[in-house]
Amino acid sequence: MQGSWAWTLYHALGTTIRLCLVTFGASLVLSALLATASSAPWRPLRIVTRLVVDLLRSIPILALLIFVYYGLGKYTASWQISPFWMAAIALTLGESAFLSEIFRAGIEAIPRSQWEAAKSLGFSWLATLRLVIAPQTLLPSMPAIVNMGIFTLKDSSLASIIAVPEITQAANDLVSDTFMPFQVFSLLALFYLGIILPFTIVAGLAERLIARYYGLHSDRARAARA
């Protein structure tokens, strides 16, 4: 009996992983764009980006999911967007706001003098960002980025609320079949623990190593999750 439960959950794991990969990939792109815009030399663009990021950070991810579900369901009903893609859209919007803050913090940690030096060498701001600033921020931001990956995995469980057939939804189905919520949800918790704990440990180690390498108190790595 236990074995077949694990089998059911294991089958739904594919959807969870696909959802996370799509979300995380899209979030990387969107947040890179947001972070680029927030370091642009044009003030109105910076202010608008700031407002957009703050607004996205203000809306709970579960609310984003439900609103995308009902909103897209109402206005794009004819497109037949599946709950999977709705969840991907909502999670991407939510995660991007945080990820862009991590990138922005990384960019701001680079001394202003580097921008000025690049400018005096004839680099445009975009070239400066791409060739001078971004490469230096990537390594120190790594632990925070891995942390965001962990959050994406955890938040993907929310997709069950709009009936995406991922692992939490599979567990919900199992509960209504077996009426054994404690056992099923314990098993589900073990699944998440098994996937996420290695990442948590790796992120912790990476954070310590990188902090030692750069000789800084891991301020940047702790870019806030709020």
Partner: protein, 222 residues
């Protein structure tokens, strides 16, 4: 679009949302209190205690950080009654969200404890304070300032994760908005109202947190 802008159509929504908002605040403030107390205890214990306890705490925080809050809520609220333990929904939400948040913030509280130079502790010990006494009378009062930003951050994130309580049937804002959408079909208007509510509460809080963070960091490094 014109129906969206008609002010009268919103007034009927406000009363109900106000009640739901109070439920959200109950969850958020309750969880905040749990998180602050548990987070500080974890930080102090990890900083002071002997190694078996340290390992246990590290394990506990890692587990709490690795399981999605939604699953923890399900496990406690739907799971525990089947083995004979019944905890009501509000208490479940407050405990689960608070403890999960504490697992994250313990690190930040510990960071604030580390801002107090080690010599201060040595001075405390040499004056005859116990380890706990040094912590309470010397380290904590000085570290307090650096706990403001993590505390604000924690409240900000809890006011948002309080929405998860809708999954165990607590009538908070999101739960209510779903009801409203399903009974009236007014998708757009409800979405606008809820986004405005969260934006009005959270956006100033985000700026305030960023400001406090910047000021305390300046103070630390200069």
């Amino acid at each position: 679009m014109p129906e969206l802008l008609a002010a009268t159509s919103y007034s009927s929504l406000t009363g109900e949302f106000l009640r739901a908002g109070i439920e959200t605040l109950k969850i958020a403030f309750g969880a905040w209190a749990v998180s602050a107390v548990a987070g500080l205890l974890l930080a102090v214990a990890r900083d002071a205690a002997i190694w078996p306890l340290k390992v246990l705490i590290a394990l506990l925080t890692a587990v709490l950080r690795s399981i999605p809050q939604l699953i923890l809520l399900y496990l406690i609220f739907f799971g525990l009654p089947s083995v004979g333990i019944q905890i009501d929904a509000l208490l479940t939400a407050i405990l689960v969200l608070g403890l999960a948040d504490a697992a994250f913030n313990a690190e930040y509280y510990r960071g604030s404890l580390l801002t107090v130079p080690h010599t201060q502790r040595e001075a405390g010990t040499s004056l005859g304070f116990s380890r706990l006494g040094t912590m309470r009378h010397i380290v904590l009062p000085q570290a307090m300032l650096y706990m403001i930003a993590p505390l604000l951050n924690s409240f900000l994130s809890l006011i948002k994760t309080a929405t998860l309580a809708s999954a165990i049937g607590l009538p908070e804002i999101l739960y209510h908005s779903q009801n409203e959408i399903q009974t009236t079909g007014e998708v757009t208007r409800v979405i606008v109202v809820v986004i405005v509510i969260y934006a009005v509460v959270c956006m100033p809080l985000i700026r305030l947190t960023a400001y406090v963070e910047r000021r305390t960091k300046e103070r630390l490094y200069t």
